[in-house]
Each structure stands twice: as structure tokens, then as C-alpha cells.
């Protein structure tokens, strides 16, 4: 039963293609660029007649694409920009390669893109309603965004994430950078063993780390609360921040170690030769040069903390509920599109963050004359 419409589509598609090919080869008018103007209109009318007004838009889009495609094939446009000596096989591969790359791209991005229209759903389900598919404004609403901004649970968890992630990042960047620099010195004994221990949080399954951390930080937390007399909430934040810093350190160590490989040691000796102390040498000479590694390590550490749900559920109490925790709960208990609204906002933030960093990086490269900019 479900098979029939598909067959029908294929059949009509084949008929249309053959018909177009016939038109283009037999008729002077259609073999020119006119086909590119006529087809969208034809398809749009077809869409209105058979499926309704919204289909006109998609019909026009299809028409534009097929018009362009057939014209492109017919005129031999596919060879225009390539070297004339390529064989047909090579030309075919040239385009197949691009199509495959495009498909990989779609495969990676599509799940994220699907989320965005769904987050404007007027209903409380992860479903494309008929109204949405008809592009009827009644099928869309901003209520899930309103829910995110008005719901105290979501706001609290959002702010918790904004408190925990940056502080954890600063801790892991400082400790990780220091560790990487230390480990790059030739006189440090048992370098590999130390390195293995430091990056173990990245390798050990998270749930096992989380279980161990739960007991470790419970004892630590009890000590801080009972012996040092600190506030319960503050202790909660400290525990989660420390745990996230531990998870972020391996990323910083790895990226900074990688940049240190290309770092010319004679520069520090030159600085020392000119009378700079170790601290000054570090901040004025070494730090600026390994900055890209530090920043990307920091970015990873930030994302690790911002994304982390397992450890925080073990260690944190509900007052430290972070955004991923809230999303996880929402997904398990409610399946509310508010999660999709939050996801869309987070995707937006990530894109902005990465773009800003990339712009900053280019700017600094330009300023240092490393690239023509």
C-alpha cells in the first residue's frame, strides 16, 4: 500500500524528464535559456493545482533546479570550468566527489537543522504537525522560547551553567597549561606515566569517574561543610566546578603539548639572556606563542563542562542543576519542545562563540604579521 505513491512519483518524474529532453532537443525555443524561466512557472502552477499554495513555492524551487540542471547537462556546462583534457570518467568523479562531500555534510548537519523548525512548534510534541507542513502561521509559535525565559527551573539551570563552566574552564586552563609546560621539559622523570594519569579522566568511562568522584567529593564536601563551616550551596558549586575542571584538564594538556612541539626553546634562553626572569619570559614570550593551543584547549574544556550531564548528576544537588541536566530531565519526563528551543539557542551561542574566536585569531595573526590577512 505504501509502495504505490512512491512508484507513481518515480514514474511521473521519468515521464517529465523524457518530455523535457524531447522538448529541448526538438524545439528551438526550449533549447535556449528559456527553459530555465519556463520550468519554475510550470512547476509552481503544477504545485498550486495539485497540492495547494505552499507547494507552489517548492514547485518553483524544483522547477528552478531541474531547469538549471537540464540546461547545464544539455549545454555541456559541466565541462566549462574543468581542464579540457580530463576524461569523462574523471569529470564524473569530479562531480560525484562533490556530491558525496555534500551528502556527508548533510548527514552531519541535518539532525541539528531538524531541531530548529520543531522548536517553533505550536504543540507540545516533537512532531511536524500538518499546520507546520502547510507553513500555516497557526502551526508555529514562540511559546517554547517564552517557557525557557519564564520558567524558573530553566533559568536557574542556565545561570548555573554560566557560573560553573567559565570558572571550571579557567581552572583547567591554568593547571593544564602549567602541566603541559612542565611535561615538555626534558629533565622531568616518568613523563609518560604522569601524562597517562593526567589524561585518564578522558579515557576512563565517564560513569566510572562519576561514581568515584561522588564518594570522593561527598567526603570532601562533608569536610568543608562540617569542619570548615562553609555554606552548603557554596560547597555544592565548588564540588561541581572542581570535578568539571578535572574533566577539562586533559583537553588543555593535549592541545598545549601539541603547540609546544613547534615552540622554539632557544627563544626562552634568548629572553633569559636579555635579563628576563622566568615569569616574564613565560608571559611575554612563551604564552603569546602557545596561545592558540591554550585557547582551543580552553574551548574544549568549556564545552566539556557546558555539555556534561553524568558527573553533575552524581555530584551536584538540585541547586547546582546545569542546563544539560535540566535538558536530560525534560527529555525523560516530559519530551517538551522547550528542549528544542534551548538547543536552538545553544547552537546559536556556539556558532557565535566559534566565529568570534576565529575572527580574533585572524586578527591577532594579522597583527603579528603571520598572515597577509
Amino acid at each position: 500500500m505504501g509502495f504505490e505513491p512512491k512508484r507513481l512519483w518515480l514514474l511521473s518524474f521519468a515521464i517529465v524528464s523524457v518530455f523535457l529532453a524531447y522538448l529541448m532537443t526538438s524545439n528551438e525555443y526550449f533549447s535556449s535559456k528559456n527553459i530555465r524561466r519556463t520550468l519554475p512557472v510550470l512547476f509552481a502552477i503544477f504545485g498550486i493545482v495539485f497540492l495547494g499554495p505552499v507547494s507552489a513555492f517548492f514547485g518553483g524551487l524544483f522547477g528552478w533546479f531541474f531547469g538549471w540542471f537540464f540546461y547545464w547537462i544539455y549545454e555541456g556546462g559541466y565541462r566549462a570550468k574543468l581542464h579540457p583534457y580530463l576524461t569523462s570518467g574523471q569529470v564524473l568523479w569530479y562531480y560525484s566527489f562533490r556530491v558525496i562531500c555534500g551528502m556527508v555534510f548533510v548527514f552531519l548537519i541535518a539532525p541539528i537543522l531538524v531541531v530548529m523548525p520543531l522548536s517553533f512548534n505550536a504543540q507540545d510534541f516533537f512532531t511536524f504537525t500538518p499546520e507546520m507542513l502547510r507553513l500555516d502561521p497557526a502551526g508555529y509559535s514562540l511559546k517554547h522560547y517564552q517557557d525557557f525565559f519564564n520558567n524558573s527551573d530553566w533559568q536557574r539551570s542556565f545561570w548555573n551553567s554560566l557560573i560553573i563552566a567559565p570558572i571550571a574552564t579557567i581552572i583547567s586552563v591554568s593547571l593544564g597549561t602549567l602541566a603541559a609546560i612542565g611535561l615538555s621539559q626534558s629533565h622531568v622523570p616518568a613523563k609518560r606515566a604522569i601524562m597517562a594519569i593526567l589524561i585518564s579522566p578522558m579515557i576512563v568511562p565517564l560513569i566510572i569517574s562519576a561514581m568515584g568522584m561522588f564518594f570522593f567529593y561527598s567526603t570532601l564536601g562533608n569536610f568543608m561543610e562540617n569542619t570548615l563551616g562553609l555554606d552548603k550551596n557554596l560547597v555544592g558549586y565548588v564540588k561541581v566546578i572542581l570535578a568539571h575542571a578535572v574533566l577539562g584538564i586533559p583537553f588543555v594538556i593535549i592541545t598545549v603539548t601539541a603547540t609546544l612541539v613547534g615552540f622554539d626553546k632557544s627563544l626562552t634562553r634568548a629572553a633569559a639572556n636579555m635579563g628576563a626572569g622566568p615569569l616574564k619570559t613565560f608571559f611575554k614570550v612563551q604564552m603569546p606563542l602557545i596561545m592558540p593551543g591554550v585557547i582551543s584547549g580552553g574551548l574544549f574544556a568549556f564545552i566539556t563542562s557546558f555539555d556534561e550531564v553524568v558527573v553533575v548528576m552524581f555530584i551536584g544537588s538540585a541547586s547546582q542543576k546545569t542546563l544539560p541536566w535540566q535538558m536530560f530531565i525534560g527529555l525523560r519526563e516530559q519530551i517538551s519542545p522547550t528542549i528544542l528551543a534551548v538547543a536552538t539557542i545553544l547552537v546559536g551561542i556556539s556558532v557565535l562563540l566559534l566565529m568570534t574566536l576565529e575572527l580574533l585569531r585572524r586578527r591577532s595573526e594579522r597583527l603579528r604579521g603571520l598572515s597577509p590577512g
Binding site: Q123, D124, F125, F126, T127, D153, R156, W159, I163, P166, I167, I170, F214, F215, S218, T219, G221, N222, D231, N233, L234, G236, Y237, M313, S317, A318, S319, K321, I329, G330, R332, E333, Q334, I335, S336
Partner: protein, 363 residues
């Protein structure tokens, strides 16, 4: 540098702002529409009266293992926990939940009836403070059942009349009872039979007949989503979820009351709280389970209050304005063919039957 400073300053400020909020308590519940009903009926008025901030932790689904781990680590972060009757008995047996003197610690009914009489049989354990009656029941897509919509719970097993996927709880609870009921076992014999290996095998054999047609759910929100998508023709879930799906979301779905399995949900207070936290937890629970508060909750969700005195006060839905009484699982019209979950049975047999069920599921 300026940016870093700003971040530091903001973070520090927010931390201290958090500290300034003096009194807080963490209440564990289920999330979703249920937590919303508690927020409206209990938390908001309580905070308005006392100034205590209530933090919601929606971890009730893992309450038992988490409380065990918290006790082991000596790090109790929960003040009041919402659990079903079965887990409450389990927690009580393990000494993780505090014993309650219901008459002394809970409010009397407005006419002076003692709490233990007002709650009656719903006090199933010394640690359990009853809150609501809910039920496991089945909803179906109107447009997928043809001209003969189901009237009996056994439609679940009738794949000939109602072809298509059905969603059932990924667990023994509710499925084992329905399987035996639809295999012709009399209601009174179901739990005695489930105590025996032969009875358990019979139930699983009945479930075997539809195993290929089942999508197993693990969260209360799954079945409503699957029904809204039209992925399943019918599915079991909690009656409140179906109410929300039908009345609030206006989905083309109807529900069965036939064969509904009643279960109870209520509060427990963990043992090992500091005296002032325990006093606050008791103060909250006394407020949240008084006659008016329990009746108020039914204005937000279609779960029945456990106090006899609250049943008389059940009113219209707070937002939709529809009469809530006919949507209560305990309404006489809805309770012609029902059974009460045997908590004592499940408290004793749950671990065994559950592992048998999961093994069957994996086959």
C-alpha cells in the same frame, strides 16, 4: 583582561546572591505536568507563606538507588521525596525513610477527622504520606482503530482487530497483571498466581503473543509522544498524561478506564536529616497534604486526592475550566473494572519478577 574580570565579578556576585537566599529545601518529584501541579498547589503557596525557597529535583525515578548512595556517602541533599507506594515500602524496610506518626504529624480534616481515618487504607506503610491515586491505563488513536474503538483492556492483546504497534511499560509492573487478566485469570487470582513461577511464565507467554508489536517505554512522556506521532495505535501510560494529551493538547486520542491499575504516590522524608531540616520537611508535608491542598492539586492534573475529605472539594480545572471529577480515576463511572496494585506483593517480588521480565525482553 577586562572581560575576565567581568566574568569573575559576575560569577562571584551570583554565588553570593545564591548564598543570601537563606532557607531552601530540595523536593524530589517526577517533573512534567505532575511537578507543575505540585508547584501550583503546594510550592507556590508554601513559599508565599514561609519564604522558604523550594528547589525541584526531578529524580524521583531513581529515588531508591540514589537515596542508598546518599546514605552510603553521608551526603543527603534531599529534604522531601515523592515516591510510589511500592518504593516507599522498600525505603521504609531499609531504614532510609523516616517513620511517620500520621495523626500527630499531619493535619486533621476540616471536620476534625484524624488524618489516619481521613487517608484510611491509603496509608500503606509507616513511612508513607499519601498524596494522590493515579492509574496505569491505555489510550488509543481514534483514527487508527477503525469503526470499533476498543472498550476492554484486552484490546492490547488483540492484534487482529487492532493491528499496529502498541507501547507498553518496559517493566513487569502493569504488564504482568494485564497479561493474566486477558488470559482469563480471575482478578482475585492474579497476584497469588504471579507468586508462582508457573503464573509468571503464563503471563510472559501471553506477552509473547504481541512481543513483536510492542514499543517499550521507560518514561511517562513516551506514550503521549508516540500517540501524538501516530507511531502506535495504543499505549499504556498514567491517566494524567492521557488527560493532558486529550484535553490540553487536543490530540485525536481517547482513553480506556477498563482494567486500570490503581497505584498511590506520596511523600517520604529521608532519615538522617539534621533536626532543623527535618522540622522544615515535616512542616512542609503537613501543609502540602492538608485537605484543601490535596483538592487544589486536582485542579491542575487528573489524579485523585487520597483524603476522603478532599474528594468533596474537587473542582474545575484551573486553566481549562472543565469539571475534574469525571476525569478522576476514582470516579464511580470510571471504576467499574479496576484493581488496586498490590504494593506488598510488588515490594516482595519486584526484584525477582523484574529480572525475569528483563531476561524475557532480551530474548
Amino acid at each position: 583582561m577586562k572581560f575576565t574580570k567581568t566574568v569573575f565579578a559576575t560569577a562571584a556576585l551570583s554565588l553570593f546572591a545564591g548564598l543570601a537566599l537563606a532557607e531552601e529545601m530540595t523536593i524530589v518529584s517526577w517533573g512534567g505536568a505532575y511537578s507543575k501541579s505540585q508547584l501550583k498547589a503546594y510550592h507556590e503557596p508554601y513559599t508565599a507563606n514561609t519564604g522558604v525557597t523550594i528547589i525541584n529535583d526531578e529524580s524521583a525515578g531513581t529515588a531508591v538507588p540514589k537515596l542508598r548512595a546518599m546514605k552510603e556517602a553521608g551526603n543527603l541533599t534531599w529534604d522531601v521525596v515523592d515516591v510510589e507506594a511500592g518504593p516507599a515500602m522498600q525505603l521504609c524496610d531499609e531504614g532510609l525513610a523516616m517513620e511517620i506518626d500520621h495523626d500527630f504529624m499531619l493535619a486533621d480534616a476540616p471536620d476534625g477527622t484524624l488524618a489516619s481515618n481521613d487517608f484510611g487504607d491509603f496509608i500503606v506503610s509507616d513511612c508513607f504520606i499519601p498524596q494522590i491515586v493515579y492509574s496505569y491505563t491505555v489510550g488509543y488513536r481514534n483514527d487508527m482503530v477503525g469503526s470499533t474503538p476498543p472498550t476492554s483492556i484486552c484490546a492490547i492483546f488483540d492484534t487482529e482487530t487492532y493491528p499496529g504497534k502498541r507501547s507498553l511499560k518496559k517493566g513487569a509492573l502493569s504488564n504482568m497483571e494485564w497479561a493474566l487478566l486477558c488470559d482469563g485469570v480471575a482478578k482475585a487470582d492474579i497476584y497469588p498466581m504471579l507468586e508462582t513461577a508457573a503464573g509468571q511464565d503464563q503471563a510472559l507467554a501471553k506477552l509473547d503473543t504481541i512481543k513483536d508489536d510492542v514499543i517499550w517505554w521507560s518514561a511517562g512522556a513516551d506514550t503521549p509522544q508516540l500517540l501524538a506521532d501516530g507511531e502506535v495505535v495504543m499505549g499504556s501510560t498514567f491517566n494524567g498524561r492521557l488527560f493532558a494529551l486529550i484535553e490540553e493538547q487536543n490530540q485525536p486520542v481517547s482513553m480506556l478506564w477498563d482494567g486500570q491499575i490503581y497505584d498511590l504516590d506520596g511523600w517520604i522524608i529521608p532519615t538522617g536529616l539534621s533536626p532543623e531540616r527535618q522540622a522544615r520537611a515535616l512542616h512542609y508535608v503537613r501543609f502540602a497534604t492538608d485537605t484543601q491542598r490535596l483538592a487544589d492539586q486536582s485542579r491542575w492534573i487528573s489524579y485523585g486526592p487520597t483524603r476522603a475529605s478532599s474528594a468533596l472539594l474537587v473542582d474545575k480545572h484551573a486553566e481549562l475550566g472543565i469539571d475534574m471529577a469525571p476525569h478522576m480515576p476514582t470516579d464511580p463511572a470510571n471504576s467499574t473494572n479496576t484493581f488496586l496494585m498490590n504494593y506488598a506483593f510488588w515490594a516482595d517480588y519486584k526484584d525477582d519478577i523484574e529480572s525475569k521480565f528483563q531476561a524475557w525482553l532480551a530474548k
